[in-house]
């Protein structure tokens, strides 16, 4: 079953895409990544085409993970040096179980083959057939989540820049809230912490999909991260830099009192030094 592998065994970007391989690398380095599988492009395409054997093969392999699931594209040319595909390829959060994966994979396959994705491919000089690999992971129910740059992306200073909000990190990534922002020196000293305005939290619905929940008034301007969490994030940044090299763009979440790494990719913008 070379087209479907546990994330920890994934290492070939030309088969599984950089997102899946990055998570595989992280797991092998002992980083706290939610468990999951990577599906190669041809398998995703077979499922999208309604091939029943492929649908069953994926469902039976993924079923032991339980649910709900987060399903993310990991197209083989996604996150390239010159093209990010940000917003082009779909992420489906809270797919209730492995038995609903067929429809989810079809939607993701079409998102990479939609008019807007193809227009984008033309614009960035990648007018080739997309190979849509996918990552399927257990979906966390985070108390808070967000993003972290291991170096200041504006001025290049050697400090961690962290943004955080309540619930799933998509509220931060999609710009639905003004997140809390933190600046932490490499030695752990907190240089700045500023509370945001977090009126919305994205959370999973029992039957699948997500909802934008109103945040309780007393939490809207309360900081999500205490000092110990900032220490843990600083340590995660250090371990990610050790594993992947400097200047990382990290997505993280805190669930059940544990800090998880959701994604780690190279920073694409650098202002100063």
């Amino acid at each position: 079953m070379t087209e479907l592998r546990p994330l920890a065994e994934v290492s070939d970007t030309s088969v599984f895409g950089s997102k899946a391989v990055g998570l595989g690398h992280a797991l092998r380095d002992g980083l706290p990544v939610p468990p999951g599988f990577a599906l190669a492009g041809p398998l995703v395409e077979a499922v999208a085409a309604g091939d029943e054997a492929a649908v069953e093969r994926v469902a039976s392999a993924v079923r032991p993970l339980g649910g709900p699931l987060a399903v993310r594209s990991s197209a083989v040319d996604e996150d390239g040096a010159d093209a990010s595909f940000a917003g082009q390829h779909l992420t489906l959060l809270n797919v209730p179980s492995a038995d609903e994966l067929g429809k989810a994979l079809r939607e993701i396959w079409w998102s990479a083959n939609s008019d807007s994705a193809i227009s984008y491919r033309k614009r960035v000089g990648l007018f080739t057939r997309p190979s849509v690999a996918v990552v399927v992971q257990v979906l966390l129910d985070p108390e808070c989540a967000g993003v972290m740059f291991t170096r200041n992306p504006i001025n290049g200073a050697d400090e961690r820049m962290i943004e955080a909000s309540w619930g799933l990190g998509e509220a931060v990534v999609a710009g639905l809230v003004i997140p809390d922002s933190y600046c932490v020196a490499r030695d752990g000293q907190v240089r700045e912490r500023r509370a945001g305005l977090k009126r919305i939290a994205i959370r999973g619905l029992p039957g699948g999909g997500t909802v934008e929940d109103e945040v309780a008034p007393e939490l809207v301007e309360r900081l999500c991260l205490a000092g110990s969490r900032l220490d843990a994030l600083n340590e995660l940044a250090r371990r990610c830099e050790e594993a992947y090299g400097p200047d990382r763009d990290i997505e993280w979440a805190v669930a059940d009192d544990t800090l998880y790494l959701l994604q780690c990719r190279p920073m694409t913008k650098m202002g100063g030094a």
């Binding site: 309604g50 029943e52 079409w110 083959n113 008019d115 193809i118 227009s119």
Partner: protein, 136 residues
């Protein structure tokens, strides 16, 4: 294996001259694509990447904001994009939940390149369309 129903594809002028085996090959390349009510299916002015055949549901066609037509089961749109990779000439929005079969240029092009007979019939079909347009 799924794919689109061949009998529905037979009514698409671009595919009308294909024989049963050829049509079956084309039909197998289609994948189901679902849209929810209110969703934009294709947008005027955006590069087209796929041809769609409606299986169920209703859609509305607008050009520069003006409503031009309604589409329902068996109707189709976007076949020229498979060949010229050009921009959409209209916006189509799902009025109800919409189930379509879609064929992208990535699947269609290799089939035509590999099968000269299918390619020739498609050229004839496009020529017929051009002649009809000149006469009208």
């Amino acid at each position: 294996m799924a794919g689109a129903p061949a009998e529905a594809l037979r009514r698409v002028p671009l595919f009308a001259d294909l024989d049963d085996d050829q049509l079956a090959q084309v039909a197998l390349l289609f994948k189901e694509r679902d849209f929810t009510a209110g969703e934009t299916v294709v947008k005027e002015g955006v590069d087209g990447a796929a041809f769609f055949l409606i299986e169920s549901g209703e859609a509305k066609v607008t050009v520069r904001g003006a409503e031009r037509a309604s589409l329902g089961p068996g109707d189709h749109f976007g076949e020229i994009a498979l060949i010229d990779e050009g921009v959409r000439s209209a916006t189509i929005a799902a009025m109800t939940d919409l189930v379509c079969y879609g064929l992208t240029l990535w699947e269609f092009r290799p089939l035509v390149i590999a099968n000269g007979e299918i390619g020739w019939k498609l050229v004839q079909s496009v020529a017929k369309k051009l002649r009809n347009a000149e006469l009208s």
